[in-house]
């Protein structure tokens, strides 16, 4: 028998396993990997947002010192398959290098390969490309117009995807309410922009016929997509997951980079490294994030109870397709936020423009949508003269209503939103904060308090794929863990993903340690490669605590069960007459009769004569491949589906002041209460929440990839693309609540995205509270100082006239 004892390691403050290598400079990032004979790539990029490529003269470049190859798009396209499209758009064909047509300024047109990066750059300057500029479209609303210049002529329209979902009686609910309001909202194009750019090193071994890939990668189905584009079997691609990833937050997808490097490595028979420099990364790395135009309408009663919502979203995916359109899908999993909204109409539109391509961003499209929902709630309160807190409480799903089915088909597992909000109010000292705001206003300051909540769906089954593309029948996104006990009792776990700061080694070791009663510090956690590893889908979608945690627990429990069988046999007891605890099997009737896991492991590995007769497999190893809880079903015809199993929740309260002269925003107080179920490692959770919030503050106030009408990116350096420094991110304070998930191994939920999902909405709420005495509002993110100042100046001019 087994017992659930008090937790020893889960939730305890323990030093994360990974940190030791990073504080000593011993991290193993892709730019730290070298191979003998390695060549370097530099890229020739299009200066035009749209142009036909008339000719490319590579002769001068090929004559430069150290140059091994200059590859052009036509050669690549003739020998590779197009990159995968998320939605069903067979007329859209994208390759790593532009094939005849450049679709955004900065798109890769040719690749120069040389003995050093500097020599590759020298030669790239000598590649002469003749362009025939074409009409372009930069504004997504204009791209909707059938007469707009087609970005992908083969598709026939700039609309890549459009579907209007109707969940519940929207028309009746709108007709039946005494109030409705509507507004537009703009989420500017931003991205996580990790401090490490994307990089890849590819090496083809003609003897083994394996393409080795080391990359800074966080991409599900990575090897599969590389293989498909390169026209080789998946089992000839070995992506190494022991490469540390210098930040990703969703964007480190690198498919086109890897296809290009892999193609060159095979063609040249030498290892090829492509490490984006920062300029290549910003303009042509295809890692921009959501770029959205919202129209929102809500219908509500006199008490502010929101009955129904209509949401139209135009997502500007840019000139490459990739997975961008899928980011319209994840918001479906929490389309009503934390609220009991009865019906929803969701008009989801993805359009192409002549901008760089998008990658996934932390929350996969949820954060902008949450700004729309939370802004609507604030507006309802303001419209009725009610408190924003009160309207939220009135609309919240109550703790006694879980599991709670939302109109779009997902069931929320657990939560207590009223309590979490109360904890945020207490932490912020909201009464005192309100007095401070009002005093500041009397002193002539522009001050406001932001309140926002957010759901963080985690652990998904990728059901947005079949929802947005019926040809895609994905209904599972498993995660795996292998646990081995060596003959000395040492434990090694193998996981099937690389890590980009989330602490997966700590996660796996903590849970395995908990299950086996072994100090996690002694447990080794290895990262497989794609050929030796089991199924995995990378740390997207706040899924690893849920999925890797569950897989690790599953494998550890199999080890424990095996230990009980061997231990009981050697203690001359039945399995029911022993218990496993603290790394040993002990007889229930005589605690002195005990056998350690190390001893059991030695028996399993070396002493077959001491094995129970029904155990026919020597050694001590277990595999667990976890199916997503509640996954496994396709969407209904009207587009309802259980998308994610677990729903974390957070409430943010922030105090903001706006400098009247300059529009500069300061955030002197920032408080978050959050509930991610059982915390595995408190310091990791704290970092995830605060770091996500910092990222969200950047999106709300500072960061934007801005294009001028001529199609040039204006913010292609770290000078112009403004990410918050230690001066811009306040001392964010946290408090926690725990409603365990009934669906996971230890009650844990996801936590990697929540900070980012809540912060933009909270900051926007604070800004608009601050602006409300002036009867103006700002519904454009980022809310740059100059924008706020311009709004205030316009208002003042109007007042004076």
């Amino acid at each position: 028998m087994t017992e659930q004892s008090v937790r020893r390691f889960v939730s305890a403050k323990r030093r994360p396993k990974e940190d030791g290598r990073f504080i000593t400079g011993a991290g193993h990032f892709v730019a730290d990997v070298t191979r003998p004979g390695m060549l370097h790539v530099a890229l020739v990029t299009s200066p035009h947002p749209a142009a036909r490529i008339v000719s490319i003269d590579t002769e001068a470049a090929l004559g430069m010192p150290g140059v091994a190859e200059v590859l052009t798009g036509d050669v690549l396209a003739a020998n590779a398959n197009p990159l995968a499209n998320a939605v069903d758009t067979p007329g859209v064909k994208c390759y790593p290098l532009a094939d005849g047509v450049a679709r955004y300024a900065g798109e890769w047109v040719a690749a120069v390969v040389a003995e050093s990066r500097a020599e590759a750059e020298d030669a790239a300057e000598r590649v002469e490309v003749e362009y025939d500029p074409l009409p372009h479209v930069i504004n997504a609303e204009e791209a909707l117009d059938p007469g707009s210049p087609p970005v992908h002529a083969g598709h026939g329209s700039n609309v890549l995807y459009r579907r209007t979902f109707t969940w519940g009686p929207v028309a009746d609910d709108f007709a039946g309410q005494p109030h409705e309001l509507s507004f537009k909202l703009r989420w500017g194009r931003s991205a996580p922009v990790p401090v490490e750019t994307f990089g890849v090193l590819a090496e083809w071994n003609a003897g083994t016929e394996i393409l080795d890939v080391w990359a800074s990668i966080q991409m599900p189905s990575y090897a599969e997509q590389i293989a498909a584009a390169l026209r080789i079997p998946v089992n000839q691609v070995r992506a190494h997951y022991d490469v540390d990833v210098g930040g990703s937050y969703g964007v480190k997808r690198g498919i086109k980079h890897t296809v290009l490097a892999g193609f060159l490595a095979r063609r040249l028979g030498r290892p090829v490294r492509l490490i984006e420099d920062r300029l290549e990364n910003m303009v042509g790395g295809d890692m921009h994030g959501p770029d959205r135009h919202f129209n929102v309408a809500v219908a509500f009663d006199d008490d502010g109870l929101i009955k129904s919502m209509k949401l139209r979203v135009i997502e500007d995916v840019g000139g490459q397709t990739g997975r961008a359109a899928f980011q319209l899908g994840k918001p479906v999993s929490a389309i009503v936020g934390a609220y009991r909204i009865n019906s929803v109409e969701y008009d989801a539109i993805a359009v192409s423009t002549n901008k760089t391509g998008q990658a996934a961003v932390r929350g996969f499209g949820m954060s902008p949508t949450n700004v729309a929902i939370e802004t609507a709630v604030d507006k309802v309160a303001r419209h009725l003269g009610l408190s924003r807190l009160g309207v939220r409480r009135r609309n919240f799903i109550r703790a006694d209503q879980f599991p709670y089915l939302i109109p779009s088909g997902s069931e929320y597992d657990s939560g207590d939103y009223h309590t979490v909000l109360r904890k945020a109010v207490d932490l912020a000292g909201l009464d005192a904060l309100l007095k401070r705001r009002d005093t500041a206003r009397r002193d002539g300051k522009i001050a406001g308090i932001g309140i926002a909540t957010c759901l963080e769906p985690g652990g998904g089954n990728s059901a947005f794929e079949p929802l947005l593309n019926p040809k895609n029948e994905t209904t599972t996104w498993p995660e795996s863990c292998v646990v081995k006990v060596d003959r000395s009792g040492g434990i090694t776990a193998t996981i099937a993903t690389s890590t980009s700061g989330q602490g997966h080694e700590t996660l796996a070791a903590t849970i395995i340690g908990e299950e086996l009663g072994i100090d996690p510090d002694t447990i080794r956690v290895m990262h497989s490669d794609t050929l030796s590893g089991l199924p995995g889908n990378t740390p997207v979608a706040s899924r690893m605590a849920i999925m890797l945690g569950g897989a690790a627990a599953g494998a550890a429990r199999k080890i424990r069960d095996q230990a009980i069988l061997i231990g009981a046999h050697n203690l001359k007891r039945t399995p029911e007459q022993v218990r496993y605890a603290n790394g040993a099997v002990t007889a229930l009737d005589d605690p002195a009769q005990s056998i350690s896991l190390a001893r059991i492991a030695l028996i399993a590995h070396r002493e077959f004569h001491n094995m129970p007769p029904d155990l026919t497999e020597p050694g001590m190893q277990a595999v667990h491949v976890l199916q997503v809880p509640k996954g496994g079903t396709l969407p209904t015809a009207d587009g309802r589906v259980q998308m994610y199993p677990c729903y974390s929740f957070a409430a943010h309260i922030v105090y903001a002041e706006i400098d009247r002269l300059t529009g500069k925003v300061t955030l002197p107080d920032y408080c978050i209460a959050h509930d991610c179920g059982t915390v595995i490692n408190p310091d990791i959770v704290r970092g995830m929440v605060i770091g996500g919030a910092a990222h969200g503050i950047g999106a709300a106030l500072y960061e934007e990839f801005t294009y001028e009408p001529g199609g040039q990116l204006l913010s292609g350096t770290f000078v112009d693309y403004v990410m918050p420094s230690a001066h811009e991110v306040p001392d964010i304070k946290l408090t926690e609540h725990c409603t365990p998930s009934p669906l996971t191994s230890h009650g844990q939920k996801g936590v990697g995205e929540g900070g980012y999902l809540g912060a933009p909405a909270a900051v926007a709420s604070a800004i608009n509270d601050a602006l409300s005495p002036y009867k103006i509002e700002c519904l454009t993110l980022p809310m740059r100082a100059s924008l706020l100042s311009d709004l205030l100046a316009d208002q003042q001019a109007e007042t004076e006239s």
């Binding site: 994360p16 991290g27 401090v195 910092a694 420094s725 991110v729």
Partner: protein, 169 residues
């Protein structure tokens, strides 16, 4: 044309031949194999390449290696104590989990080390100023500030240098 340079690197003398256009960070990483110092932007904004140059923190992407001739460079690899144990600041980063992906961490450690060397009791605002030239996209900085504050407190509790073993300097 390559030029010969000699410098003191993490306390040891090193000589090398470098092309003038080779940046200091590329020299450290590619020519000397010290990959702890990272490249983030190569235009002087992110701070990932911070090293100590004659004990002052600088950006190694904004210097050419040839300019380091005759100078002393300390990288993250040089922050351990002489006995090989973790430096106080390094250990404090671990204690507060002042990192996630670890990419900006070497630069943050350099910035923090330089601050504490001249100001052993910094205010939080001074800590934030000292790391404001180092971008971190993971942490939101709070646990980094915690770590530097903790390291300062730990260092202040240590006996003065004269009481410690000879050779500390």
């Amino acid at each position: 044309m390559k030029q010969k340079i000699t410098l003191t690197l993490n306390g040891a003398r090193r000589s090398a031949e470098v092309e003038p256009r080779l940046s200091l960070v590329d020299f450290l990483r590619d020519q000397l194999g010290l990959t702890g110092t990272h490249i983030g932007c190569e235009h002087g904004v992110c701070g990932a390449c911070s090293v100590l140059f004659d004990d002052d923190p600088i950006r190694a992407c904004l210097m050419f290696a040839v300019q380091a001739d005759g100078h002393a460079i300390t990288t993250v690899e040089g922050l351990r104590e002489e006995d090989g144990s973790l430096g106080i600041l390094q250990d404090s980063f671990w204690e507060t989990h002042a990192l996630q992906c670890g990419y900006c961490t070497p630069g943050m450690l350099i910035a923090g080390q330089a601050l504490l060397a001249r100001n052993p009791d910094p205010s939080d605002e001074e800590i934030r100023e000292a790391i404001a030239g180092n971008l971190c996209r993971c942490t939101g900085y709070v646990q980094i500030v915690d770590a530097i504050r903790l390291a300062g407190a730990r260092m202040r509790q240590m006996p003065p240098a004269t009481d410690r073993e000879a050779g500390d300097d």
